[in-house]
Subunit: 108 residues, 2 copies
Amino acid sequence: MMNAGEGAFRALADPTRRAILSLLAEEDMTIGRVAENFAMTRPAIKKHLGILEEGQLIRVEARGRERVNRFNPEGLRAVTGWLGELDRFWNLRLDRLKAEIERDMKDE
Amino acid sequence: MMNAGEGAFRALADPTRRAILSLLAEEDMTIGRVAENFAMTRPAIKKHLGILEEGQLIRVEARGRERVNRFNPEGLRAVTGWLGELDRFWNLRLDRLKAEIERDMKDE
DNA sequence: TTTAATAGAAACTAAATGGTATCATATGGA
DNA sequence: TCCATATGATACCATTTAGTTTCTATTAAA
């Protein structure tokens, strides 16, 4: 089980970035518009958007002098995929445990 | 959409912690046993386990002089729950978009 | 063609993070 | 009881992170 989606996990760790992602899931926004929603300077928001982009959680499209930031649901696959694998491991373990218990009961 | 599972997201951001979680999903382990799997001192592993515990992703049970660390699948709900909400937002948006397009087509 | 708006970049700071080394504590067993 | 083992705790260090301020570049529009 390896480092898939390193960037996505890192991007999701910060609450501001998760809030940004929520906004962008509802509506595409320029950097300025995103920044209006936070008590923080635009450069700070820009950095967060950069990290979200690295994690593939958003896509940025140049449009004249603006940059439109859009949510990229594909990027979440790295995360949900890893969580799914973890769950698979867990269930395999439960299955082994169950089998063991059944074997023990038969022995008695 | 708010800060649910802050600790869990933070805990998952580090690759070492994700690797630890994978191990623990397969098998309960003491701190020492976990540490054997990494090129890192035990205090470092202990810190990671502490952060995983804060994020509710593991539970720790004292057992004599040992501490057994076990994976806590419940803790992932904060994460999957948030991801689900995000997805819901996204789909609502797609629905609005679809409705709009259908309306426009009827107008022509 | 100025001027105002939008964004990018760089340099800096404070605090958090991931790690180490070292020392103290508690428990199981010879 | 005494010793080895398993863990906890503390202090320290280097790097990263999240944020700021300030300055520059590009584009829209009067």
